[in-house]
Symmetry: C2
Subunit: 218 residues, 2 copies
DNA sequence: CGGATTTTGTTCCCCCGTTCACAAAGTCCT
DNA sequence: AGGACTTTGTGAACGGGGGAACAAAATCCG
């Protein structure tokens, strides 16, 4: 962890809280769509699937946005959380690897609605270039540098086979990307200052299998 | 958490450890493929991307499978972990929702190689029925009960749009599925005893965006 | 055979996160 | 206006997990 500027706001939001903020954001959106103007921590906690005390403590890291005796204004709180996470701004994203998973990601509507804009789909396979997926051109992997520079991309998504992932990550880091979402199995080595989040589908199933096995053993 | 039979083995593996066992398993497989017969906790920890002390503590929950002064036998340890997780047995799995993501999941090779066998792809869309994806028939959602009963399915995967997820989960629980991997956004309500793991692609990106925003603010 | 060396298994301590419980602060009703 | 009531924000206790450090156990070498 790097030193923090002391003149900045003293907020130091715990990682566990950061991971839940998007959940609250989604719950608030659902409430707003249902026409709810105001909600208590109890209601919101129910919608988000968490304990109400935890919710209140999480929100307290952002500031005092509620009103005692009343609750939270849905729209106001939603905006505050969105701003805190950063989804009020536009995030250009590149996706590398246009297999089944890359396809699914490119088409996923949940990205665009939260400020993430897929600016390019890259693939090493020449035969795919020129194809259009979800309204975005499939381009050669070699175009990475140009695309990142042009659009100011800071976030990259790796959806390649495992053997290609480290090379892709290296190239991404090399051209200035500092946040990577990795769907390829295996460990990525990246320099200090680059954030990597890993999503491993088979690991999730294996965790379920472990618990299932325990349940079956009774 | 339900009461545990006291006559059973006293092992109570922490959740954090369970989540890392599949990572160790994959690292061991990589080492084995490279021809490594034996490895120290330091080497394995490096391959798995964790601290060696943490690795040793994790492994100690399974038993004493190492040899002091030598290290771990790669194949032996791999088998022990696989057995502990339960991936030495066959796990029939149903996937509901055959959109882009369902497609990607059905084709994902990482499932089959770890004992997970997709026995059916279900979708509410009539026009898809009869189609074959990744060698598996796409069938009506109404066939769920029959398929689960026939194959002894305990694990279900939800890859539907958000609005359908709760209904699908209810039906799954109703026919005896007790482990669910959910890719649909939103909170699932399930009875006690049913495990749900959630994978939310947009949440991962939002977490990255938060940190990216902090980095950019310097 | 015994000491030096290597590496595991475990103990101890600290920190982060969760939860309880309550004071503070607002609203509502009479 | 004032008291009852509701709900937030937070202080404090508690539990789990991470990491350093060390004792125990095995090999190797003279």
């Amino acid at each position: 962890m790097t030193a923090r500027s002391s003149s900045e706001s003293a907020r130091e939001i715990p990682e566990a809280t950061v991971a839940r903020l998007p959940v609250y954001l989604r719950a608030l959106t659902t409430l707003a769509d249902d026409g709810t103007r105001t909600c208590s921590s109890e209601e919101l906690a129910l919608a988000a699937g968490v304990n109400s005390a935890k919710l209140r403590k999480d929100l307290s890291y952002l500031g005092s946005y509620g009103t005692r005796g009343v609750g939270y204004d849905v729209d106001y709180l939603r905006y505050q959380i969105a701003r805190e996470i950063g989804v009020t701004q536009d995030w250009p994203v590149v996706i590398v690897g246009i297999g089944n998973l890359g396809h699914a990601l490119a088409n996923y509507s949940g990205f665009r609605s939260r400020g993430f804009r897929v600016v390019a789909l890259l693939d090493a396979d020449d035969t795919r270039h020129g194809e259009v997926v979800a309204g975005v051109d499939v381009r050669p992997f070699g175009d990475l540098e140009e695309i990142v520079a042009t659009h100011g991309v800071a976030i990259g998504v790796i959806a390649t086979p495992a053997h290609a992932a480290q090379d892709v990550a290296d190239r991404m880091v090399g051209c200035g990307i500092t946040s990577i979402l990795n769907f390829a199995p295996g460990v990525l080595a990246v320099p200090e200052g680059v954030d990597v989040r890993k999503v491993d589908l088979s690991i999730e199933l294996q965790i379920l299998a472990y618990h299932q096995q325990r349940k079956a053993a009774l």
